[in-house]
Amino acid sequence: MSWTLDNDRPIYLQLMERIQRDIIAGVYQPGDKLPSVRDLALEAAVNPNTMQKALSELERSGLVYSQRTSGRFITEDTEMLTQMKKELATEHIQEFFQKMEQLGFSRAELLTLVTKAAEGEN
């Protein structure tokens, strides 16, 4: 099954986001070896050069590191992973706020709604 990609944004960015998400979600554990570029490209059904670019960018961000002969590994810097998880959560929350504001909810109303939803009421 290939990965779901939007068709109006650069592909390598979406590949980066997807791998980042998989790392944060624990699909890949800190210190794990990533599959090869070719295998990842096949899995995603994208061009290997594009996958290569996504991985190089992730390397630059420090999330993965490469060992010359043995491949690419997930960072063992758990602090960095926690930080990244927080950032991603903040992004999602901002997005949620924006959408709710478009629907005309105030922050206070929203909080009540969210609390209720979390408690399992409607």
Binding site: S2, R9, P10, R38, L42, A44, A45, N47, P48, N49
Partner: protein
């Protein structure tokens, strides 16, 4: 090292009608390139010129620095839009034939792909469905260790599920130094595997960009851009 493909002011006229005019292009190694354009834009003419099936009216085609000849046919693996295989032959016989014919044919790879697609090597081509025949042909072409693969409409005749398999066949069989030039009308289905796209219109190259550059600058897919550029 010479670029894998160079076209220099390439022109082909049929009875003074220019099918391709003053077409210049350089393709480097290690990329998958989509050749896109409406019917009659010159895609097949270009492909035939590269394969030496047509001679240019003027201009030059160079493959790895050489004009099309026996030597370039060794390094170019070509999937024509129509089948040329003898349909009375068994798949196994055709594979033996290719193995004989091309030094860079990898028989094991062909047999393995056939097996994965559930096509029996003992079937006669005639008894296979149109889709299976197209798969056999693509398998033959992708089982060669070529420098340049030219695929004319490789996914046109097969169902959507098999298309996915064919695309992954293309992805998994090409090596990093090879270049693939493929023409298709099914842009949405292949754009994720392309590095670069070429748009042809009335025999001229009107766009030559990387896919991510286009998506980044125009914020739209190649499919959408194509529909806009070639709106009827």
């Amino acid at each position: 090292m010479d670029p894998i493909l160079q076209c220099q002011s390439l022109t082909k006229e049929y009875n003074h009608f220019p099918a391709l005019s003053d077409f210049s292009l350089t393709l480097e190694r290690g990329q998958i390139v989509g050749l896109l354009g409406p019917s009659g834009s010159g895609k097949s003419t270009l492909i035939k010129l590269i394969n030496g099936l047509l001679t240019p009216t003027s201009g030059k085609v160079l493959i790895d620095g050489m004009a099309p000849c026996t030597r370039t046919k060794e390094i170019v693996s070509y999937l024509p839009e129509r089948t040329y295989l003898n349909d009375w032959m068994k798949v196994r016989e055709i594979i033996a034939y290719f193995d004989d014919f091309y030094a860079n044919f990898v028989k094991e790879r062909a047999l393995e792909m056939l097996e994965r697609l559930g096509i029996s090597p003992d079937a006669r081509l005639r008894t296979l469905s149109k889709g299976s025949r197209e798969k056999v042909q693509l398998i033959l072409v992708m089982s060669r260790d070529a420098d340049l693969y030219i695929l004319d409409e490789p996914i046109g005749g097969v169902d959507p599920a098999a298309r996915q398999y064919i695309l992954s066949t293309i992805l998994s069989n090409y090596n990093e130094n090879a270049t693939i030039l493929l023409s298709t009308h099914l842009i949405a289905e292949i754009e994720n595997i392309l590095d670069r796209v070429l748009f042809l219109q009335n025999g001229q190259l009107i766009l030559n960009h990387s896919v991510d550059e286009i998506r980044f600058q125009q914020k739209k897919s190649i499919d959408t851009l194509f529909r806009e550029v070639f709106q009827c």
